[in-house]
Subunit: 211 residues, 2 copies
DNA sequence: GGGCTAATGAACTAACTGGTACGTTAGTTA
DNA sequence: TAACTAACGTACCAGTTAGTTCATTAGCCC
């Protein structure tokens, strides 16, 4: 009964959060159908019953996981301030933020893969995500416009294409590190090569805008 | 009994191949744990029993699928001849071949995703794959060396990094088209934008080598 | 054409899995 | 302090799933 003994108390919010945390890891690691409701429950201090109590079922739990993961990564992106930087430096900075994010949140990357494997059918139920993401591209678009105005960047480059370029590089490095490592014996996440890839991405993106 | 009626005859090789074809599609579409042995069998002209007869089990069937998929894509790559092209054109050509391949073989892309979701643990059992893949990079390395010699390309760019860059762009476009489409309302595989992305990749890669 | 074996099919099973019925308890409120 | 409800736990169920058993057949070899 005492808090000192670490025994259970009623705490709805903590129970919910603990389920979300463990479920994020399970879904990211094993995919939607591979994740086991029993396993998720076993890894928390609560029981399977609570998944149905708080979320309704496996699918709704997955949806909650997905929504929170996207919300977190976009919230962090919004905190970046690039207005005080020259266009080229700002562009590089934005690329680096994505680079750092992908590396720091492998579970998010895996969830993106899981969701694509299901043709993004769950994502359509989370309308909020669209707003979150388009704001990230709007930021990028501003930087490109600024660069065009001062002659740093060439015309005719679409912000969404640049976003795709940045994402693809960062995503691949994290998502496919296992097959890439197995086939070419190179660990894309080796800390010693981290700066090299970060610089490479920046060069690539600014280079593309200045051709 | 007659071949004209389309009735069943004994044909070990055809049975094996049919299982492989259907299994490729099932594993690509639903992932390893999501794929159902019964479903694979139901979609062929044979029965589940044959999966165990020819392959041993679900896992060995998956392994056979993976090995064949990689063998096919690398075999096609080896047929490309770039010796008669200038380094920049050769590099662009190699990028385009990968681009075309990824687009034409979405099942392969999905299998790569499935295998990464499992930390490439099956891939280690298919030693043959390493040889196949390193030959693709060797080809790229030759082109880069040639370009350096004639002053077209700058020094200090690693062939494997270029391969990664090309792969990441092509992979992302196919693998993440669903979430990307849902979030930004842009179909990365829209035929009307195909040439744009193909050119973009070529510009990107040759641009990176000439900075 | 009779024996032999690779190839095949139907039915079964043991274990698993998402979901639920139903009873219990902690903490709040009057 | 008694009533009340949100929060929780146990035990179970019905459907599913990978894998197996065992009998059967097609086609080849002599």
């Amino acid at each position: 009964m005492s808090a000192l003994t670490g025994e259970r108390r009623r705490d709805a919010e903590r129970t919910r959060l603990e389920l979300l945390d463990v479920a994020t890891d399970e879904f990211a690691e094993r995919g939607y159908s591979g994740a086991r409701v029993d396993e998720i429950a076993a890894r928390t201090r609560t029981t399977k019953r609570m998944i149905y109590y708080y979320f309704g079922g496996k699918e709704q739990l997955y949806l909650a996981v997905l929504e929170r993961a996207y919300a977190e990564i976009r919230a962090a992106e919004r905190t970046v301030d690039v207005d005080h930087l020259e266009p080229a430096a700002a562009l590089r900075r934005l690329a680096e933020v994505t680079f750092d994010h992908h590396e720091a949140h492998p579970a998010f990357i895996k969830l993106v893969g899981v969701e694509n494997a299901q043709h993004a059918k769950h994502m359509n139920h989370v309308a909020r995500l669209v707003d979150l993401n388009s704001s990230a591209v709007a930021l990028l678009d501003d930087v490109l416009k600024r660069g065009r105005r001062d002659g740093t960047f060439r015309d005719g480059v679409d912000a969404l294409d640049v976003h795709m370029l940045i994402s693809s590089f960062c995503f691949f490095r994290v998502a496919n590190r296992h097959t890439f490592g197995a086939l070419f014996d190179r660990d894309l996440l080796d800390p010693e090569r981290r700066e090299h890839y970060r610089t490479m991405l920046g060069d690539l993106v600014t280079g593309y805008l200045q051709i």
